[in-house]
C-alpha cells in the first residue's frame, strides 16, 4: 500500500511541475525573459526526477521494468520527453525545442493521470507472454523511438505551419550545397539548374543571414537529427520485437496490427529520409512526410489498441 501512496505523490507532483514548466516555457518563447529560462530548466529537472521516481517505485513493486500496461507506457513516454528536454538543454542555445517538448510531456502525463480509469493504473502482474528478458529491450527502445520521432515530427509541423509558403524561397538545401552541382562527376545530373540560377541571385544573398532563414535552417536541422535518432531506435525496436516473437511464438512477423503500423511508421520515416536527399523535394516535401509521421505514430501507439485484436492488446482503453 505504501507503494501506491509514494507513486501517487510522485505522479501528482511531477504533473504540477510539468504544468508550471510548460507555462513558463510558453511565456519565455514569446517574451524571452532570462529568469524564466532558469526556472523552467530547474523545474524540468525536478519533474524528470519525480517521473523517474515513479518508474523506479513501480520497478521495485513489480520486479520488472514498468512497461506492462498502457498507464506505465504513457508515463515512460512522458519521461522520454522530459529526458529529451534535458538533453536539448545541454546541446543548443536557441531553445526552439523547449516549448514543444515541455508541452508534449505535460499532455501525455495529463492523459495518463487524468483520463485513464483507476483500475488501469494499478500495476498488474505480467501475462505469460510478457515474462521475458526481451520485454525490457523491445518496449523501451520502441517507446524512446516514439518520443524522439514525435519530437521531430512536431518540429516539422511547426516548420510547415509557420513558414508554409516560404520554404522554397529559402530552400534549406541551397544554403549549403550551391556549388556541388558543378563538381559532380556522375551522369545523374538533376534538372535543377534553372532554380540554381534563381537562388544565387542578388536578392537571395541578401536573405542569407536573416532570422527567418536561420530559423528554417535550425528547425530543419533539428527535425533531421531527432528523426534520424528516432529512426535508428525504431529499427532496433521493430527488430527486437521480431526476434522476440520468433523466440517465443515461432514467427518473426505475423502481420499483427501493431507490428504492421510500426512498419508503416518506419516506411514513412524512410520516405522522409529519402526525400531529404532529393534536391527538388527537399524542404517542403520532407516536412510534409515528417508531419504525416506524427499522426502515424499516434495511430501505432494508441490507435491499434482500440481495435482490440492481435497479440498486442494489453492496453485496452475500452
Amino acid at each position: 500500500m505504501i507503494y501506491l501512496y509514494v507513486e501517487q505523490i510522485f505522479v501528482y507532483i511531477s504533473f504540477l511541475i510539468l504544468f508550471l514548466v510548460t507555462l513558463l516555457n510558453l511565456i519565455n518563447f514569446f517574451f524571452e525573459i532570462d529568469k524564466i529560462n532558469h526556472f523552467s530548466n530547474n523545474g524540468m529537472k525536478f519533474a524528470f526526477l519525480c517521473t523517474t521516481g515513479f518508474l523506479t517505485t513501480r520497478f521495485f513493486q513489480t520486479q520488472h521494468l514498468p512497461l506492462g500496461n498502457l498507464y506505465e507506457s504513457l508515463m515512460f513516454l512522458s519521461w522520454g520527453f522530459s529526458f529529451l528536454y534535458l538533453i536539448s538543454n545541454v546541446k543548443n542555445k536557441k531553445r526552439l525545442s523547449a516549448p514543444v517538448l515541455a508541452t508534449s510531456a505535460l499532455l501525455v502525463h495529463a492523459f495518463a493521470v487524468l483520463s485513464l480509469p483507476h483500475k488501469m493504473r494499478e500495476s498488474m502482474s505480467l501475462v505469460p507472454a510478457l515474462q521475458s528478458q526481451w520485454l525490457m529491450m523491445h518496449v523501451s527502445t520502441t517507446l524512446i523511438s516514439y518520443a524522439t520521432l514525435l519530437f521531430g515530427s512536431l518540429l516539422a509541423i511547426v516548420l510547415l505551419s509557420i513558414f508554409h509558403g516560404e520554404i522554397k524561397r529559402y530552400c534549406v538545401g541551397n544554403l549549403t550545397n550551391n556549388f556541388e552541382f558543378r563538381n559532380k562527376n556522375y551522369p545523374l545530373i538533376s534538372k535543377n539548374f534553372p532554380k540554381q540560377i534563381i537562388t544565387e541571385s542578388f536578392s537571395y544573398s541578401l536573405f542569407l543571414n536573416s532570422r527567418k532563414c536561420q530559423l528554417i535552417h535550425l528547425l530543419d536541422k533539428w527535425t533531421y537529427q531527432a528523426i534520424s535518432l528516432g529512426f535508428s531506435f525504431l529499427t532496433i525496436g521493430i527488430i527486437s520485437g521480431a526476434v522476440w516473437a520468433n523466440e517465443a511464438w515461432g514467427s518473426y512477423w505475423s502481420w499483427d496490427p501493431k507490428e504492421t503500423w510500426a512498419l508503416i511508421t518506419w516506411l514513412i520515416y524512410a520516405i522522409y529520409l529519402h526525400i531529404r536527399i532529393n534536391k527538388k523535394w527537399m524542404g517542403k516535401g520532407s516536412a510534409m512526410a515528417a508531419s504525416m509521421g506524427f499522426f502515424l505514430v499516434w495511430i501505432c501507439f494508441l490507435g491499434v489498441n482500440l481495435l482490440g485484436v492481435g497479440l498486442h492488446n494489453y492496453g485496452w482503453l475500452i
Binding site: 507472454a129 563538381n183 556522375y186 532496433i236 511464438w249 515461432g250 512498419l263 514513412i268 520516405i271
Partner: protein
C-alpha cells in the same frame, strides 16, 4: 561519361595492374601480356569481351587527346579525370607517390606502342574492328537493357511511390479483418458503404481478406527489391568508387569550387596535416597537395542498409517457400509423431530426419498468481527416436521453446481434454470435454448422461470448467448444483448420483516450426541495425594545396554540412601563420602566431572572409 572515367582507371588493372609497373622487369611483362592478348585475338579470331574492345577504343582516343594536350596541366573540368589515381588507397608516402608518377609515364609509352600496333586494325575512332562478331552486339544489347532497367527501377519517384503504396496497403490490411470466412465479409460489409461502391464482394474480389499474401502485394514487394538492387548497383556503388579514390588536386581553381573553401595566407601544409591527423582524419600528402578523409563508413553504410533489407526479404521468401509448420493439441499423457503434424509451406520444403521423432507429453500444468490469474503454462515433453530411446526432455513454457533437430516446438495454447470422475463409487471414468468457448476465455464442458432415454432424449449432468482447477456442476434441468475442486475428493450428489471429481486433464497446444530462412533473416536484422546507425556518420573530405606561401583548403561532406563548416573553420583557426620578421632573421627566422591572435589585432582580412562565408 561515367563509363569512360570508370574504364580509364580500370585499364591499368585489367592489363596487369599498377603493382606490376613498379619493378624494372615489369615492362617486359606488360609487353608480353599485351602482345599475348593481341596475338590471341589475331590468331584465333574469337570474339573478345566488349570491355577489351572499349579499352582499345578508349586508349586510342586517349592517345589522340594526349598528343594534343601534353602541355595542358590543369583541367577546367572535373578533378578526377586528368590525374592518375592509384587503385589501392591507404598510406602512400611521398616517395611512393613519385614512383607512381614515374611508372605512369612508362605506362603511357606502353600504351602508345600498343596503339600503334592496333592502328593497323582500326581505321577510325569509333569504327568496330572487322573481327567483331554478333556476340558483341548481343553483349551490347544486354548491357543496354541492363542500363535501361537500372535507370527505370532506380528512379526516385518510383521508390517513394512504392514505399507509400506498400504502407497504404498494410494499413488497409489492419482496417479490414484478415483471414476470415467468405460469409463474414459478405455480412460485415453488406451495407452500402461509399454509395454501393464498396461491399463484401469488393473485399473478396480485391483479395482484401488476405492482403499480405495477395499477388499485387507480393508483386510490389518484388518491385521494391528490384528497385533496391538497381539503386545500389547504379547509384550507390559508383558513388562509393568515386569517394574511395583519393585524389590529389593540383589546381587551386578546382578547390575553390567546393562549397567550403578557404585561403590561409602564410601557412604550411605540414601544420594542417598535423591538425587534421589529430582530429582523426586519415591524411595523405603528395608534394604540395594534401587529401584527408574521415568517416568512410558513412559512404558504405547506405549500401549496407539496402543490402540488409534485401537479405531480410530474401530470407523471408525462403521461409515462405521452404519451411514446415504445424499446430497440434495433445492431451496430457499421449504421443504424436512430429512428421505427421507438420505441413510444408512451399515447394522448397524438404523434411529432415528429425521428423521421425515421437513426442510424449508427460505433464501439462498451469501456474497461477495468488489472485488467480494465469502466470505460466508448462509442458513436460520427452522426445523419443525410432528406436524408443529418449533423445530429449524439457519442460517448455511460453517464452521458452524446445529446439531439436532443426525444428522448434512452442507452447502456444492449451485446452481441457477430459474430466476424470468417480460415479457412485465406480470408476474412474474419463469424460471427454468439448470446447464451448475458445479464445481468451475458454470454456469446456462435458456431459454425464443419466437414465436410459436413448440418444435423442438424453438427460444428464453437465459439468463446465474454465481452468484445470475447478468444475461447475449443473443438474439435468440446468440448475446450478455446485462447484468442486479437482482432487478435493469431496463428493456431490446431483439427481441422485454421487460424483467425485478426480482430475481435470488438460491438453497442451503446441506449435512446431521448421524455418530455414531464419538465419538469413537474423543476419539481415543484425546488418540492418548496424548499418542504420552507421549511415549517420558523415563522410568528410578535405583537400589542400600549397600555392606559393599560402594554403588553399577546400572541403566537402555528404551530410550535415553547416556543422561541418563550423568545425572545420575552428580547426583552421589553429593553423599557425608563419610571419617572417626580416629584422630578426638571424636570431629567430620564423615567428609563428595563430590566426586567432592576428584576428584579435584586427589585421587579418581573412576573418572578414570567414564570417561572410559561415
Amino acid at each position: 561519361m561515367n563509363t569512360i572515367q570508370h574504364l580509364s582507371t580500370e585499364a591499368p588493372s585489367v592489363l596487369g595492374g599498377h603493382r606490376l609497373l613498379k619493378s624494372s622487369s615489369c615492362s617486359y611483362f606488360v609487353t608480353t601480356a599485351h602482345g599475348f592478348l593481341l596475338a590471341r585475338r589475331m590468331l584465333s579470331g574469337i570474339s573478345q569481351p566488349e570491355k577489351y574492345r572499349r579499352i582499345l577504343v578508349n586508349s586510342y582516343n586517349r592517345k589522340q587527346s594526349n598528343s594534343s594536350n601534353t602541355t595542358v596541366k590543369t583541367s577546367t573540368k572535373l578533378p578526377s579525370v586528368d590525374h592518375l589515381t592509384p587503385s589501392d588507397a591507404p598510406s602512400v608516402s611521398n616517395a611512393e607517390g613519385r614512383e607512381d608518377a614515374a611508372s605512369s609515364s612508362q605506362w603511357k609509352e606502353r600504351k602508345d606502342d600498343g596503339v600503334d600496333v592496333r592502328a593497323g586494325f582500326s581505321s577510325g575512332k569509333d569504327k568496330k574492328p572487322a573481327l567483331l562478331t554478333d556476340s558483341f552486339e548481343y553483349f551490347a544489347f544486354l548491357r543496354r537493357l541492363k542500363r535501361t532497367a537500372e535507370k527505370l527501377l532506380s528512379s526516385f519517384p518510383l521508390a517513394i511511390a512504392e514505399l507509400a503504396i506498400i504502407g497504404a496497403l498494410c494499413a488497409v490490411g489492419t482496417l479490414i479483418e484478415q483471414g476470415q470466412s467468405r460469409e463474414f465479409y459478405l455480412q460485415k460489409y453488406s451495407e452500402d458503404w461509399a454509395f454501393g461502391l464498396f461491399n463484401g464482394e469488393w473485399v473478396l474480389n480485391l483479395c482484401l481478406d488476405h492482403v499480405y499474401t495477395a499477388p499485387y502485394f507480393l508483386g510490389l514487394l518484388a518491385l521494391l527489391a528490384a528497385s533496391l538492387i538497381a539503386c545500389t548497383s547504379s547509384r550507390q556503388i559508383p558513388l562509393v568508387k568515386i569517394a574511395r579514390r583519393w585524389r590529389f588536386v593540383n589546381s587551386g581553381a578546382s578547390i575553390s569550387k567546393l562549397d567550403f573553401h578557404e585561403t590561409l595566407p602564410h601557412a604550411r601544409l605540414a601544420d594542417l596535416a598535423v591538425l587534421l591527423a589529430g582530429d582523426k582524419y586519415q591524411v595523405f600528402m603528395r608534394g604540395p597537395s594534401l587529401y584527408a578523409f574521415k568517416g568512410l563508413a558513412g559512404r558504405f553504410a547506405p549500401i549496407g542498409v539496402h543490402a540488409a533489407l534485401l537479405l531480410i526479404m530474401g530470407g523471408a521468401t525462403y521461409s515462405a517457400i521452404g519451411g514446415y509448420h504445424g499446430t497440434i493439441m495433445v492431451p496430457q499423457g499421449l504421443n504424436f509423431m512430429v512428421g505427421e503434424a507438420m505441413y510444408p509451406a512451399g515447394f522448397l520444403s524438404q523434411p529432415p530426419d528429425s521428423f521421425d521423432t515421437e513426442v510424449h507429453i508427460n505433464k501439462f500444468t498451469i501456474e497461477t498468481y495468488p489472485n488467480g490469474e494465469v502466470s505460466q503454462f508448462r509442458t513436460d515433453l520427452s522426445l523419443f527416436n525410432l528406436r524408443g530411446q529418449e533423445v530429449s526432455r524439457k519442460v517448455i513454457s511460453v517464452n521458452d521453446p524446445l529446439r531439436y533437430g532443426g525444428f522448434t516446438m512452442y507452447q502456444t495454447d492449451w485446452g481441457i481434454s477430459t474430466i476424470q470422475i468417480h460415479v457412485d463409487g465406480e470408476g474412474p471414468f474419463n469424460l471427454v470435454a468439448a470446447p464451448l468457448q475458445t479464445g481468451d476465455n475458454k470454456l469446456f464442458g462435458t456431459f454425464l448422461p443419466i437414465g436410459d432415454n436413448g440418444l435423442a432424449g438424453a438427460k444428464g449432468i453437465s459439468m463446465l470448467a474454465r481452468d484445470l482447477q475447478s468444475v461447475v456442476i449443473y443438474d439435468s434441468n440446468g440448475a446450478f448444483a455446485g462447484v468442486r475442486r479437482s482432487g478435493s475428493e469431496k463428493p456431490i450428489t446431483v439427481d441422485g448420483v454421487t460424483i467425485i471429481i478426480d482430475d481435470i486433464i488438460g491438453s497442451t497446444g503446441l506449435e512446431m516450426k521448421l524455418d530455414p530462412g531464419v538465419p538469413i533473416v537474423y543476419a539481415g536484422f543484425a546488418a540492418l541495425m548496424l548499418t542504420t546507425v552507421l549511415s549517420y556518420l558523415c563522410h568528410l573530405q578535405v583537400w589542400a594545396l600549397q600555392v606559393d606561401d599560402s594554403l588553399v583548403v577546400g572541403a566537402k561532406s555528404n551530410r550535415n554540412r553547416a556543422e561541418f563548416a563550423e568545425d572545420l573553420g575552428k580547426l583552421l583557426n589553429f593553423v599557425p601563420e608563419i610571419v617572417r620578421d626580416r629584422s630578426m632573421e638571424n636570431i629567430a627566422p620564423i615567428i609563428s602566431s595563430t590566426n586567432e591572435e592576428l584576428s584579435m589585432q584586427g589585421t587579418s582580412a581573412k576573418m572578414d572572409n570567414e564570417s561572410s562565408r559561415s
